[in-house]
Amino acid sequence: MASTSTNIDASTQPAPAVETGRLLVSLPPLANGELNAALANLAAAFPERTILVATPSSLDVSPGPAPDRLHVLSYTPTSASAISWILTAADYVNAFRLAEENQATACLLLGAESQSIAPEALRALAEAVLHADADLAIAHYDTGPRELLVNSAILYPVSRALFTARPRFPLAIDLALSLRMAVKLAATAQKFVSLNQNDALIWPVAEAASVNYTIAEIEIGPRTMPQPTVSDLNSLLAQIAGSLFAEVDAKAAFWQRARGIQPARLFPLSTLPAEAADITPMLDAFRLAYTNLHGIWSLVLPPNSLLGLKRLSIMPVDSFHMPDSLWARIVYDFILAYRLRTINRGHLLGALTPLYLAWVASHLVLVRNGTAPEKHIQDLAAAFETDKPYLVSRWRWPDRFNP
């Protein structure tokens, strides 16, 4: 295993510890009321600690009087990002610059809507890097069975199988970083920022795992998740999956060597939804794609996967089921095609959308039939781990015969 993971439950955290390091909290751009709520939340989270709270300056926002122990630092970002629902390269660069200027020993990066996080959870995130010797403390959210499905289908299984890292939300928007972790992430982010790609996504779990830094996962309970401003699934999936595939490509030397199966974690099972979701539109989209995109898929997928998709295309709605091994193989083959540029990358990621919808439909059918959503996700991640040798083999010898 490349990194050590620990799991900390916010509800079991001890009382606030004695101050031992300087903590910088980086907030996203917030409206006036939201900022005051976030400051009050931070004051409740750190009653005995002096902290620096950095917030991007805005003409129409002026924070109210902050509690004594909060030093609000209004700054003009050197690199601004147009995306606010997720952390981008610009956020990491700005956070590190502020931490360096203010001699902070740890950073707490919070995403939008962070005022909805419980103070205990905020404290647990910070304490993990200040006292528990973790370099990266990453949030574990309490989500519903129909939320963050891209994370469940692609991000978590790929991250767990390839980077041998357990965090359930590899692209979490609430993180605590040790100073050396902040340096590492800022260095990676700076490469994108210098190319004027401020909105590029950075994968903290992959970065930490590749340099063997310690990762802690903190359960922070329910949280209001910010929604993307763009509602187009195709472009969002292409952006997120494309970024992950690029990260896999960039870290190939690491994950080909990384070994170890991550033990399944016991999380409280999500409650089953009261009403069944209508999967017919998703299946219609998949079937339409099967008749039209078969030629493009055949450039990317091996015959076995195409046969599996053929079976799926004629499967009735009630028993629709995409095997975990088939989905794992599909994602791996798309990663390979991304690396080899078998077809244009924009086309490749566009062709993934209907397959992802088929997986979502299959997942929802399983949930409707009584399978616990989290159990299915853990089984899926295990299938990705089992199939990892296939990816390694084809990565090294892509022209070898592939059934």
Partner: protein, 242 residues
Amino acid sequence: MWQQVHDSLSQSAHRVLFKLASFLPGLVALLVAVLVLALIGAAVAALLRRVLTSAKFDERMARNSPDAISDWSPSGSPTLLVARIAFWACVALGFIIGISAFDASSNGSQISTFLLPYLTHSVGAIVLLIIGNLVARFLERSVLIGAVNARLQYARFLSLGIKWLVLVLTAAMILDHLEIGGAIVELAFGILFGGIVLTLALAVGLGSRDIVSRSLEKNVERTEPVSNAPDSPTPSETLRHF
């Protein structure tokens, strides 16, 4: 009389052989020029490949440039693209030198004045053909994937229409470039292009009839005062992908 026939035949044969004799050195010069420049091109390409590979050109391009360059490169390798461009530039240079030599040795014969512009136009036509095919394939896939993800039932038909529009345009440009067909090509192109556009417009219009009517119905409903309780959210609204 037989003597006259014999004389005219021998004179004719003499003229043809003389012309052939004056034509052959030019042809040999053309072939030699192309061959030598092709060999030089191969050497330059090999040298470039070696230098760029050692300089990790592909990795640098992948890191610092948008996808476009690598996407158009053979096997996704910008190094190979540069090497091949260098090779074919040398071959084209060989053709130009060879044709000039051919032209000089043929002393202004009608063959060279006909062949010279045609050969240069042929090179341009081949380039047009390659670019046209690439653009047609790219647009076909873009439209197909976009239309499928937009859940349009006539996605295949739309993408084929776009593909043939570009191919017809390319074919017309090539024929025009080669000066073949003249006005007939323009006329045929206009008819074909217009026909494809009309067919696509009809297909899209008829196929989207339901979508348009649904959209209009929604607009009408929005303008009416809401009297009932709000509808329960559709199942797709309860799904959150991000």
